[in-house]
């Protein structure tokens, strides 16, 4: 006998708990970081090629939109970094109970946002 189970495949009806939210963010930011690789390599190349290309990159990154982009990238990296550390801990059986798992999910959000803010202060 099959039990009728509630199905909520409508994305607008799904209410994810915080660990679920940071999990999907981990995935989305991971994909974003993959797409940013060529831009970062290009920036690295410009920074090392010659004093002129170094200055050109510096000027380009001084633009507020460029800084905003860097801030978004930093958030993606820092979130992926912190959430990744949490997954490594979970793999080692640390904090797998419901309460600690929720608490560590909160910590991931707080720490990654805090560090992103710090990065923002540093570049501005």
């Amino acid at each position: 006998m099959t039990k009728p189970r509630p199905k909520h495949l409508n994305l607008l009806q799904i209410r994810l708990p915080l660990p679920g939210v940071i999990s999907i963010m981990h995935r989305v930011f991971g994909a974003a970081l993959f797409l940013a690789i060529p831009l970062l390599l290009y920036a690295m190349q410009s920074s090392l090629e010659s004093p002129a290309s170094f200055d050109a990159l510096k000027n380009a990154l001084a633009h507020p939109l460029a800084k905003l982009f860097l801030l978004g990238l930093a958030w993606a990296y820092l979130h992926h970094f912190c959430a990744g550390l949490r997954y490594l801990a979970l793999d080692l059986d640390y904090g797998t109970d419901l309460a600690p798992a929720r608490a560590s999910a909160k910590a991931v959000v707080a720490v990654s946002l805090g560090l992103t803010l710090l990065f923002g202060v540093w570049i501005w």
Binding site: A31, F34, I37, F81
Partner: protein, 115 residues
């Protein structure tokens, strides 16, 4: 009747482990790089290029980047596996992603040793 056990392709555990080992390498590199830049801020081109000419920076960075690319492959492949149902499109995306990552690896070495 033939009893068949359903088994996987056996690359799951290897990739699962590789994803974690590469992650640990990237964490260590990130912390050391931030520390290095905090101790010796690269304010101009001369400081910056001198820093990156150090062999330890070149080798550590190339190790880090190879970890990034392998980690990215496993991650992007898992995303494609989850959402792309059409086998032909999935294969095409795999080829594009692998091709891009191999190009990035070659390009990285050119950047690190080419200045």
């Amino acid at each position: 009747m033939v009893r068949r056990e359903v088994v996987g392709a056996h690359y799951g555990l290897r990739d699962w482990l590789a994803q974690r080992i590469t992650a640990v390498v990237m964490v260590i590199y990130t912390l050391l790089l931030v520390l290095a830049l905090a101790i010796a801020p690269a304010v101009d081109f001369l400081h910056w290029s001198t820093l990156w000419k150090m062999p330890v920076m070149r080798y550590a960075t190339v190790l880090f980047l190879l970890c990034v690319y392998y980690h990215a492959w496993i991650g992007v492949r898992d995303i494609v596996m989850d959402y792309v149902k059409d086998a032909g499109l999935r294969l095409t995306l795999y080829v594009i992603v692998i091709g891009a990552l191999v190009c990035y690896a070659v390009w990285s070495i050119q950047i690190l040793w080419g200045f």
